[in-house]
């Protein structure tokens, strides 16, 4: 170990490709021999450059839904539009090229190539496109650094812990440099502490990359932490979709209400969701729109005030918040 190769100069962040919105229209899937369809009449608008979380319990069809987007599973009915591209109409060869250029995927079981080392795994999508090995390895190394795995280039995947393997899976997906990122319960197999770390990693990366992410989970806490747009799926149908806070505050039916009852709302809901219209209250504490209800309650109690002003990220006044409304949510 006479010398270390000098750390590569911080690469210019790859210009994020403009991420397309995804539209699912009347999407259905019935597997051969199944009594009922896995998915039935799913209409979804998944916004560009945002994380859409599809939440459902096992058997709700969420994994099938994700695989219909890139046609790893062929739909029985309906269409998938990715930007202007009708994915469902693509023939085999254009579909393959569309996948290479547009989508990347992260799997619950990691699905790394066991006979290739970490660096080769991350470089895999680039090599599939015919990028020369040296160039692909250079880019792969940068992504490994971004996910906190610098220096494990030559390890076999089987020698890594589950969490480390999924970091490799994430680096591989990011190295593909695709505007659409499909994630199939990527953190479900990790222990809770590590799961949280990976969620933070994803949120941090997404802030810079602004990809169109479709994230599948069965964990409501995870869904609410990550989602810009939340979709609830049950028995192959969409139960509710939209703003995550709205799902907690206005559940679509008794079952969803039941489902969200056990949540730790103080940590998950943010002030913006409860702000009421009205001018600034003089002398009341000022809270960021992104502050959690628990933080809001503490600030108001500390200030001895029953009200607070909610401020948007740009500093403009968003509305009023009452301690009463906050406590009601915390007690719900």
């Amino acid at each position: 170990m006479a010398e270390h190769a000098p750390a590569p100069a911080p690469a210019p962040a790859p210009a994020p490709a403009p991420a397309p919105a995804l539209q699912l229209q009347g999407l259905g899937k019935r597997y051969a021999g199944a009594a009922r369809p896995a998915l039935d009449g799913v209409d979804l608008q998944l916004p560009a450059g945002a994380i859409s979380v599809v939440m459902g319990l096992s058997g709700s069809g969420k994994s099938t839904l994700l695989r219909l987007v890139n046609r790893l599973v062929e739909p029985s009915a309906g269409r998938v539009l990715c930007g202007a591209v009708d994915v469902t109409a693509l023939a085999a060869e254009p579909l393959r090229q569309w996948r290479q250029q547009t989508t990347a995927m992260v799997f619950q079981g990691y699905a790394l190539l066991p006979h290739r080392n970490v660096l080769q795994n991350v470089a895999y999508p680039l090599r599939l496109r015919g990028m020369p090995a040296a160039e692909a390895a250079g880019q792969a190394r940068q992504w490994l650094q971004r996910v906190g795995l610098a220096g494990s280039d030559v390890a076999w995947p089987a020698a890594l812990s589950g969490g480390m393997q999924q970091r490799v899976g994430l680096a591989r997906a990011l190295a593909a440099d695709a505007p659409v990122l499909l994630m199939d319960e990527p953190f479900a197999a990790l222990d809770p502490l590590y799961r949280r770390e990976m969620q933070d990693l994803l949120l941090g990366l997404q802030q810079q990359l602004r990809k169109t992410v479709v994230f599948i989970t069965h964990d409501l806490d995870e869904a609410l932490r990550l989602a810009d747009h939340l979709v609830l799926l049950r028995d192959g149908r969409v139960v509710q979709q939209g703003d995550p806070a709205a799902t907690v505050l206005q559940p679509a039916d008794a079952q969803v209400a039941d489902f969200v009852r056990g949540l730790h709302r103080g940590r998950l809901l943010r002030c913006a969701a409860l702000a009421q219209p009205g001018g600034p209250v003089p002398g009341a504490p000022v809270l960021a729109a992104s502050a959690t209800l628990a933080e809001a309650a503490r600030a108001m109690l500390d200030a001895g005030s029953g009200q607070a002003n909610v401020q948007a990220a740009d500093g403009s006044h968003l509305g009023r918040l009452t301690l009463d409304a906050v406590v009601r949510q915390l007690a719900a």
Partner: protein, 297 residues
Amino acid sequence: MTTGFPALDADTLTALKQAIDQGFLAFSQRHGVAIETAFTPLQRLLIGVEQALLATPWPLLLAAVAALAWGASRRWPLALGSAATLALLGLFGLWDDTLKTLAMVLVATALAVAIGAPLGVAMARAPRLQRLLNPLLDLMQTLPSFVYLIPAVMLLGIGRVPGLLAVVVYALPPMVRLTSLGLREVDRDVLEAADAYGATPWQKLWGVQLPLALPTLMAGINQTIMMALAMVVVAAMIGVQGLGQPVLRAINNQYFALGLFNGLAIVAIAVVFDRIAQAWGWRLQRHRQPQRQPGHG
């Protein structure tokens, strides 16, 4: 009353056998020369390999075998043991016959792999082909080899080529089966990932399926070598030279020691090949069990 089975009468059976025999005879008379010409390259290859081995100085061959064993296993005991086994065969006066047998086994195995691996790949991809080929493979493995030696000899005469063909026919099925099995056993998740990232069928086959099936493919090659060695004596009956011919002579003349020496020589070669192939198969899988070492000796 019912002890004698009501067979077709003797005249009908004789006529049937005669018709088949005459049909085949006519076929071999009409096309015999063409077929023999078609197999000439195979004969040249076999003779070429045989002469190359015989022309190599013995210390070089011992070193080559030791190097092969070491390359496959990275263990000195296997390398030295393999070379010592070969040296022992030489010491007992079996050097030339051993090399002739080696040449036949190498060429037969290469042929079986060259034909069997692509067939196995095709079978793994097309279940219908699998249903079609399976009975044929069963037939190749169970039909007594003497039976298909008869038409081979009628077409090609006594010699190396019909013997080689008989060996290949016998050794082919495990290669086909294990190739197909290895490909079908590849982790579906990994294949799905390759699909998700837009791999072409060709990239999937060479980059994912074949490398992951490699340990099973190696088992197929190993089986093929063993079956080829098992056919050495049978092949000797139609003129394949090597360790099989002294065994035949020993049977005819009741030379117990001669038969024993040559028989044990075949076993020794089989053991060396098997050890080398298994050690190599182990090393191919080292990425799966990064901590463990091969435990068997």
